[in-house]
């Protein structure tokens, strides 16, 4: 390289966008098809109003806690699905992979003389998830079979494994207080408040630290008021949640688990090299390859994460039901999880989406499921309605793509 380096431009006083400019940019983005979480939050509001009008038990503290516990497994599995969808791939096997993990946990903890410590059982279940996902990823990348086919084969094969593991037992009752506690125990009122304050404090700290760092580097920042509103928004939202659940049984442990994993995977996706490469592979695999990114490796890791999160979801589901049977991993778990990720705003075309989509989508799905249940409607009706909502969400994705194309963003 040359010996001459031009003087760096001295960082001027950090330019800060005005509130007006920020609002204009946001409105421009929405018109241009970058809808973000807007449609889903509107959707959730509509769902709440409709069900509350039909049945005044919908918006009660008790039902809110139920909803959290019901939605948790979908949210966890959907988080893994987000990684796969970001690549523009699909994983149809997560349902029965969650089943395998649930059954494995229950079997390993059976007090029949050969039981292992709880931690070992959970680690084995999670490890099996990672292995299964890695296997899927290897077949998809190294042999070159489309993920749809490989995971469809996985769906059948892991369903078979669930049946083989259960054997003639029919139902295996989960007999470990710790694992059952995930979905059936609750934080004390005080602990929930402390946790909530810690979370908001950490968020505020990260936001302000980022502001300072950018200002020091002379980069433009969001207006301080907007950052303040974001922190206040999180505070109000979490405070409402904690207040409401404390009217009933309290904050379920599984909600904490969902929160922690939400933050963790968001960090991985938005703040690490690996996460950046996931988006790059989903956006333009050829560009990623030319940039020296090992595309196969990224894909394999994403499938491993999908199966790992399926395993986490499977354990939580087993915990909620306190048992596993031959139906473990069947039923709605697969379709609800994929639907949750898509309804939350993850594009099926790859490259666009956030982990929080899994949580928001799972909230919608669980609300519909729960609300229609309260109205005493059959599961037939539930499926029809959920299907229509899924279609609506994908339609919104399609329309926003068209909006982006028209404004030259796609």
């Amino acid at each position: 390289m040359s010996a001459i380096t031009p003087p760096l431009p001295t960082p001027a006083a950090a330019p800060t966008a005005t509130i007006g400019a920020y609002a204009r940019r946001w409105a421009e983005n929405v018109r241009g098809g970058e809808l973000g979480s807007l449609p889903i939050i509107l959707g959730l509001l509509i769902i709440c109003v409709v069900f509350q009008v039909q049945n005044d038990r919908f918006l009660t503290a008790g039902n809110f806690v139920n909803l959290m516990v019901q939605g948790a497994a979908f949210a966890l599995v959907a988080m893994g699905i987000v990684f796969v969808l970001l690549l523009g791939e699909i994983d149809l096997s997560v349902g029965y992979v969650s089943g395998v993990a649930g059954v494995l946990t229950a079997l390993l903890l059976l007090p029949d003389g050969s039981s292992v410590p709880t931690a070992v059982a959970i680690a084995a279940a999670l490890g099996s998830g990672v292995l299964i996902g890695t296997l899927h990823g290897l077949v998809i990348t190294k042999i070159g079979i489309p993920s749809f086919v490989v995971t469809l084969a996985g769906l059948l094969a892991w369903n078979g494994v669930v049946l083989l593991l259960i054997g003639s037992r029919g139902t295996v009752v989960l007999q470990d207080d710790f694992v059952i506690g995930f979905a059936n125990d609750f934080l004390s009122e005080g602990a929930a408040w402390v946790l909530m304050l810690l979370a908001v404090g950490a968020y505020a700290g990260v936001q302000l630290w980022g502001l300072r760092k950018r200002a020091a580097a002379g980069l433009s920042n969001d207006p301080l008021l907007i950052v303040g509103l974001r922190i206040l928004g999180l505070f109000v939202a979490l405070a409402c949640v904690v207040y409401v659940v404390n009217q009933d049984r309290g904050l379920p442990y599984v909600a904490v688990l969902v929160g922690v994993l939400l933050v963790f995977w968001t960090y991985v996706l938005r703040r690490t090299r690996f996460g950046r490469h996931v988006y790059a592979v989903g956006g333009n695999a050829e560009a990623a390859r030319r940039a020296g990114i090992n595309v196969d490796r990224i894909k394999i890791i994403c499938f491993a994460i999908a199966s790992l999160m399926a395993a986490v979801g499977g354990i939580v589901l087993a915990s909620r039901l306190r048992s596993v049977d031959t139906n473990a991993g069947g039923g709605a778990i697969l379709l609800y999880s994929i639907a949750a990720a898509v309804i939350g705003g993850t594009s099926l075309f790859g490259g666009r989406g956030h982990i929080k989509a899994a949580l928001l989508g799972a909230l919608v799905i669980a609300s519909i499921d729960n609300g229609l249940g309260l109205l005493g409607l059959s599961s037939g009706t539930k499926f029809v309605v959920t299907g229509l909502v899924l279609l609506l969400a994908v339609a919104v994705d399609s329309f926003s793509r068209r909006g982006r194309a028209q404004s030259g963003r796609a």
Binding site: M1, S2, A3, I4, T5, P6, L8, P9, G32, K213, R214, A216, A217, G218, L219, Y267, R271, T272, R273, R276, H277, Y279, A280, G282, G283, N284, E286, A287, A288, R290, A291, G292, I293, G351, R352, R404, S407, G408, R409, A410
Partner: protein, 272 residues
């Protein structure tokens, strides 16, 4: 050293410095097809050297041989006067050769900073991406190249015009301590104003001391920015010109009817 911001200043050029890259008698054959036949070609720092030719003349194959995507059958490639063997894109990048392909290889869903650092992200000691550092360096690189049309480096590439995208791809290439930048048809899909933008950028790169190789079949563009022109015809270099001492008619003649040292298919005809 990973990142340089030295594209802003003139590079030191020792007087009489020779070509940075030389191809000597390079041949490449794909089965029965002689894609390149004893091609000589060189690029000098501070100059824009154009490689022109009709479709199928061997322009793309030449680039891919320099990139190391195709191994050459015979001849040699000299880098700063020393023979080198380039076995793949990593080798060429290590030498300081950056290639901007026609499709630009940008990820539409990522923003400008993310694209420019793709695959070479800066990280903090805690393995998190160092966004502030990357954003600052990006802005510096773009301003040193006088790329002023980008409103925000945090907008996604999908929203940029063709000329802006080309500028980003070029800036991405020169940000990494590169010595030679190869541009494959950089103005092929651009309008008049955007072509202007990109040609100015190409000229600026050379004026800052980089060696620039411009592959194109738009003679108008070439006469505007190139210092020297090498013409390929049917896999052979048939003519060299100094842009100042020639005109488009001569170059077109060379492209369509330049004298070949061997006529493909002639040997076989003799045998029969």
């Amino acid at each position: 050293m990973t990142v340089t911001t030295d594209v802003g200043g003139p590079r030191e050029r020792s007087p009489g410095a020779g070509p940075i890259l030389e191809l000597k008698g390079v041949s490449k054959r794909f089965g029965a097809v002689q894609a390149l036949h004893e091609v000589d070609f060189d690029v000098t720092p501070g100059e824009v050297t154009a490689l022109v030719g009709d479709n199928g003349a061997g322009k793309s194959v030449t680039i891919k041989c320099i990139a190391g995507i195709y191994p050459i059958d015979s001849g040699e490639i000299l880098w700063q006067g020393r023979p080198v063997e380039i076995h793949g894109p990593k080798d060429s990048a290590a030498l300081g050769i950056e290639i901007v392909y026609q499709d630009l290889a940008l990820a539409d869903n990522l923003d400008v900073v993310q694209n420019m650092y793709l695959g070479r992200e800066e990280i903090t000691p805690f393995h998190a991406l160092d966004e502030t550092k990357m954003e600052r360096r990006c802005k510096e690189t773009l301003s040193s190249l006088s790329v002023t049309t980008i409103r925000s480096v945090r907008q996604t590439v999908a929203g940029l015009s063709g000329g802006q995208r080309q500028s980003i791809a070029v800036a991405k290439a020169v940000m990494w301590n590169s010595r030679l930048v190869i541009l494959d048809e950089p103005t092929a899909a651009l309008g008049v104003a955007q072509t202007r933008q990109v040609l100015d950028l190409v000229r600026r790169l050379a004026d800052q001391g980089l060696a620039v190789m411009l592959v194109s079949h738009n003679l108008h563009d070439i006469f505007e920015v190139a210092d020297r022109i090498t013409v390929l015809r049917l896999g052979q270099d048939v003519a060299r010109f100094n842009t100042k001492e020639t005109n488009q008619r001569e170059v077109v003649e060379a492209i369509t009817a330049g004298k070949l040292s061997t006529v493909p298919g002639a040997e076989e005809a003799h045998v029969r």
